[in-house]
C-alpha cells in the first residue's frame, strides 16, 4: 500500500519560464557573460587603459600642435624681423653712399672708377632692398598667412591686419619715391650736373630716405607689437586647451567609469542574485532559484547552487513524506489502541513496510495473546461457576439431608447407630465432594496462574526487554524476583 503524499508547496507567482523545460542556461542578452571573468576583467582594464591613453594622447597632441604653431609663428617673426632690419640697414647705407658719391664727385679730381663703383653699389643696394620689401609685402603680411590671421582673430585684433597692409603700402610708396630721387641724383652726377645733384640730395633724397626709413621702422615695430597681440591669443588658446584637457579628462573618466561599471555589473549583478537567493533560502523560501545567465564561472556556480537547492528540497520533501507516513501509521495504531483500551480486542492493525508496522505487529501479537489469556480466563471463570454451582447444589443437598435426619428422630434419645452412620456417610461423602471441588478449583486457579505468569507485570529495564515469546524465561524471571513486587 502506498501512502499519498502531501502536495508540495508551489510559488504563487508565475514566472516566464514556467512553460519551458528545465535547463541550466538561459539565453543572455549580454554577450559579456559568455567570457570568463578573468578575461573580462583584463578586457576592462585594457579598455580603460586604452581610453586613458587615447585621451592623454589626444590632449598631448593638441598641446604639441599648439606649441608648434607658436614656435612657427615666432620663427617666422624672427625671420621677417631680421629681413626688415637688414633692409633698414640698406636704406641707411644707401643714404650714406649717395652722399659719399657726391663728395667723391665734388673732389678736384674725381676717380671715374670710384664713381662707377659707388653707382654699382647704390644700385645693388637698391635692388636688394627692393627684393626684401617686395618679398615681405607679397608673402609675409599677416593677411597672407591664414594661421596668423586666425591667431589674431582669436586675440580680437583682426583690424591690425588692415593696418599692416596700409603700412606696407606706405613703405612701398616711400621707397619708390626715394629710389626715383636716388636714380635722379646718380644721373645728375654722371652727367656732371653736380649742383643739381647736391640740391636734389638735400631736398629730396634725404627726406624721402627718412620717410622710407620711418615707414620701414613702422613695419618692424608692427611685427614686434604683433608678438604681443598674438601672445595674448596664445594664452587664450592655452586656456581653451586647458578646458579641452579638462573636458577630455572628464570624458575619459566617464568612459572609464562606464566601462568599469558595466564590467563590474556583469559580475556584481549575478552575485547579488545569488546572495538574494541564499538569503531567501535562509529565510525559508525554498522555492527560490537563481536565474542562470551566460556561461562564465558565476553561471556555473549559479547552476550548481540551483542543483544543490533542488537536491536539498527533494531530500526535505522526502523526509517530510516519510515523517507524514509514519505519523499516519502511528495515528492509525493509536486509534486501534484506543479501541483496545475501550475493550475491543481485535488484532487488526494494518501492516506495511515501515518500523510502525513492526510496532503494529507487536501490538497485534500482544493483543492476540491478551485475547487468548482473556479467553482462557473466561473459560476458567465459567468452569469455576459450574463448580460453584455444583458445590452449592451438593451443599444444599447435604443441608437438606441433615435437616431431614434431624427432623425424623429425636436426637436426645440417642442416635441409632445406623442412622448416625448414614449421616456420617453422607457427611463424609459431602466432605469428599467438597474436597474434590476444592481441588478442582485449585486446578483451575493453577491454570489461571499459568496463564497469568506468561506476562511480565513487574517493571523491567527497557534495554533488557527480551523476546515476548520466551514465556519460560519470563516465568523463571518472575520467580526469581522478590515477592513483594506484585
Amino acid at each position: 500500500m502506498s501512502f499519498s503524499n502531501q502536495p508540495m508547496s508551489m510559488s504563487a507567482a508565475q514566472t516566464p519560464f514556467s512553460n519551458r523545460p528545465f535547463s541550466s542556461h538561459h539565453p543572455s542578452r549580454n554577450p559579456f557573460l559568455h567570457i570568463p571573468i578573468a578575461q573580462r576583467l583584463t578586457l576592462g582594464f585594457l579598455l580603460a587603459a586604452l581610453i586613458a591613453a587615447v585621451a592623454a594622447g589626444a590632449v598631448g597632441f593638441g598641446h604639441v600642435q599648439s606649441l608648434s604653431k607658436e614656435t612657427n609663428f615666432y620663427q617666422n617673426l624672427l625671420r621677417t624681423n631680421t629681413d626688415l632690419t637688414t633692409g633698414a640697414t640698406y636704406l641707411q647705407l644707401m643714404d650714406a653712399k649717395l652722399h659719399e658719391t657726391l663728395t667723391d664727385a665734388l673732389a678736384p679730381a674725381p676717380s671715374q672708377e670710384t664713381l662707377v663703383l659707388n653707382q654699382q653699389a647704390l644700385r645693388d643696394l637698391a635692388t636688394r632692398y627692393n627684393a626684401i620689401l617686395t618679398n615681405y609685402t607679397q608673402h609675409d603680411l599677416i593677411s597672407q598667412q591664414p594661421s596668423q590671421m586666425t591667431l589674431l582673430t582669436e586675440a580680437g585684433n583682426e583690424d591690425q591686419a588692415t593696418q599692416q597692409q596700409a603700412q606696407a603700402g606706405s613703405a612701398l610708396r616711400t621707397w619708390q619715391v626715394y629710389r626715383d630721387a636716388q636714380e635722379q641724383v646718380l644721373q645728375d652726377i654722371s652727367t656732371g650736373n653736380l649742383t643739381e645733384a647736391q640740391s636734389l640730395i638735400r631736398f629730396q633724397a634725404e627726406p624721402t630716405n627718412t620717410d622710407a626709413l620711418s615707414a620701414l621702422r613702422t613695419l618692424i615695430q608692427f611685427d614686434e607689437n604683433l608678438a604681443t597681440f598674438v601672445s595674448a591669443a596664445f594664452s587664450v588658446e592655452e586656456q581653451n586647451l586647458l578646458l579641452t584637457t579638462l573636458i577630455a579628462a572628464l570624458i575619459a573618466c566617464l568612459c572609464i567609469g562606464l566601462v568599469g561599471w558595466f564590467i563590474s555589473n556583469t559580475i556584481i549583478k549575478p552575485l547579488h542574485q545569488l546572495r538574494l537567493v541564499t538569503q531567501a533560502i535562509g529565510a525559508g523560501q525554498l522555492d527560490s532559484r537563481v536565474m542562470v545567465r551566460g556561461r562564465d564561472e558565476i553561471a556555473d556556480v549559479s547552476a550548481s547552487v540551483n542543483g544543490m537547492l533542488d537536491t536539498i528540497v527533494g531530500l526535505l520533501q522526502e523526509t517530510r513524506g516519510q515523517r507524514d507516513a509514519l505519523t499516519n501509521a502511528a495515528n492509525h495504531l493509536f486509534s486501534y489502541m484506543q479501541g483496545v483500551s475501550a475493550g475491543e480486542l481485535r488484532a487488526s492493525a494494518t501492516l506495511s513496510n515501515d518500523p510502525i508496522s513492526l510496532l503494529a505487529d507487536a501490538f497485534n501479537f500482544t493483543i492476540s495473546r491478551f485475547r487468548r489469556f482473556v479467553l482462557r480466563t473466561q473459560v476458567g471463570i465459567e468452569q469455576l461457576e459450574v463448580v460453584s454451582r455444583q458445590e452449592v447444589a451438593r451443599s444444599d443437598a447435604f443441608v437438606q439431608a441433615v435437616h431431614t435426619y434431624h427432623g425424623s428422630s429425636p436426637l436426645k434419645q440417642g442416635v441409632s447407630g445406623s442412622q448416625g452412620q448414614d449421616l456420617a456417610r453422607v457427611a463424609v461423602g459431602f466432605a469428599q465432594d467438597v474436597t474434590m471441588m476444592a481441588r478442582h478449583v485449585g486446578a483451575i486457579a493453577q491454570e489461571l496462574r499459568t496463564n497469568v505468569t506468561t506476562f511480565k507485570i513487574e517493571t523491567v529495564d527497557n534495554t533488557t526487554r527480551s523476546n515476548l515469546l520466551d514465556a519460560a524465561a519470563n516465568q523463571r524471571f518472575v520467580q526469581e524476583l522478590p515477592q513483594g513486587n506484585t
Binding site: A166, G169, S170, L200, F203, T210, D211, R217, R289, R293
Partner: protein, 329 residues
C-alpha cells in the same frame, strides 16, 4: 521524478538589479567637474578692453583736423565717459607735444624722422589717405597739366603764361605756401621731385586762404587738400588723372599723402580703443564725405611713379570702394 517539473515554478532571482550607488556618485562628480570647467572658461575669457573713463588730447595737423574732430564726436557718443580734445597747430608741433608727453596722439601729415624722433616706442598708425589737387580759378578752362608742366610752372619757371598750356592769355600766378607748410612738403616731395618752388609766397599756411586767393586772383594756380575744396575753385588733373581713389591706388596720381596718428606705444584702454575706433566702419564711411580716402580696403601698389625710369614690377590691384566717394569738381 516529476518534482523537477515544479522547479521552474519557483521564484527566480534574475530580475533584481543592484542599485548602483557608485553610479550616482560618479554622476555627482561629473556635474561638479562641469561646473568647475564652466567657471574656468568664464574666468579665462579674454577681457574685452573697456573704454575706461579718461581724457584724450589730440594735437597736430590742420589737414586732418576736420576728420579727427568728427570722429572724436562719434567716439564720445559711443563712449560717454571718455573726453576727446582735438587741437591744430601743425604736424611738427603735434609730434613735439607727443614726445614731450603733453599730448596723447599726434596728428601728422609727414613721417616722423627716426633721427629726430628716435623713441622706439613711437608708433605710427595710418588713418587715411588725403588727396591733394591743383586748383585754379573757375574761369581758367584748362583741365589737365602734365607732370613736367607742373614742374615748369611751379619750379623752373619755364611756363609763365596760360596760353602755353592751352589756356587763355593770362600770366600764371603760382600761389606758394610757407616753408613750414606740410602741404608744401608733400607737393615738393611727390610732385616737384625735390625742386624749389617759386611764386607768390603766402605768410599763413591756411588752406582756406589759399582757396580764396586762387579764387580771386586771376590766373592763379595753387594746391590744396580735397577736404577744403569748394566750388569757388576747380581742381585739375595731373597727366590726365584726377585725384580719385583709383588713380591713387594704381599709382597714376602722385599728389597724395598718408595721414598718420603717432602715439608713444600701444596702451590698453581708451587710447587703443580710440585707435581701433578710427579703423571701424563709421569712421571709414565718414572719410569720403569729408574728402579723405579710407585705407581699410585700399590695395597698395608697388607701381613706380611717373618719374621712375626703371620699370619695377607692378601689382596693380583695383578694388571696389565700399563707401561712396563724392568727387569734388
Amino acid at each position: 521524478m516529476d518534482e523537477h517539473k515544479h522547479m521552474y515554478m519557483n521564484r527566480w532571482y534574475g530580475h533584481q538589479r543592484p542599485i548602483g550607488t557608485a553610479w550616482c556618485q560618479l554622476g555627482r562628480l561629473t556635474v561638479i567637474c562641469f561646473f568647475v570647467a564652466i567657471l574656468l572658461t568664464s574666468c579665462g575669457s579674454t577681457d574685452t578692453p573697456q573704454a575706461s573713463s579718461g581724457h584724450l588730447l589730440i594735437v597736430g595737423s590742420t589737414a586732418m583736423q576736420p576728420l579727427v574732430t568728427a570722429a572724436a564726436a562719434l567716439f564720445e557718443k559711443a563712449n560717454p565717459r571718455v573726453q576727446v580734445e582735438v587741437r591744430g597747430g601743425g604736424s611738427l608741433s603735434g609730434l613735439s607735444a607727443l614726445v614731450n608727453q603733453e599730448a596723447d596722439i599726434a596728428d601728422s601729415d609727414v613721417y616722423a624722422d627716426p633721427a629726430i624722433y628716435p623713441d622706439p616706442s613711437l608708433t605710427d598708425h595710418i588713418i587715411c589717405v588725403i588727396p591733394f589737387a591743383l586748383v585754379v580759378a573757375p574761369d581758367i578752362p584748362v583741365l589737365s597739366l602734365t607732370h613736367q608742366q607742373v614742374i615748369d610752372i611751379f619750379s623752373t619757371g619755364k611756363i609763365r603764361n596760360w596760353k602755353e598750356v592751352n589756356g587763355p592769355n593770362l600770366p600764371i600766378v603760382p600761389i606758394v605756401r610757407p616753408t613750414t607748410s606740410g602741404t608744401r612738403a608733400v607737393f615738393r616731395k611727390y610732385v616737384l621731385g625735390g625742386r624749389d618752388e617759386r611764386g607768390t609766397l603766402l605768410t599763413t599756411d591756411s588752406s582756406t586762404d589759399i582757396r580764396d586767393t586762387v579764387a580771386h586772383t586771376p590766373g592763379a594756380i595753387g594746391y590744396l587738400a580735397l577736404s577744403v575744396l569748394s566750388p569757388s575753385v576747380r581742381a585739375i588733373a595731373i597727366d590726365g588723372q584726377m585725384a580719385t581713389r583709383e588713380g591713387i591706388e594704381s599709382g597714376h596720381y602722385p599728389f597724395w599723402a598718408y595721414e598718420h596718428m603717432y602715439t608713444l606705444g600701444i596702451h590698453p584702454g581708451s587710447l587703443s580703443t580710440y585707435l581701433s575706433f578710427m579703423q571701424t566702419a563709421p569712421v571709414q564711411q565718414l572719410e569720403p564725405r569729408l574728402g579723405y580716402i579710407p585705407t581699410v580696403n585700399m590695395k597698395f601698389s608697388s607701381a613706380g611713379s611717373s618719374h621712375s625710369k626703371t620699370s619695377l614690377s607692378n601689382t596693380l590691384v583695383f578694388h571696389e570702394s565700399e563707401a561712396t566717394l563724392r568727387e569734388f569738381f
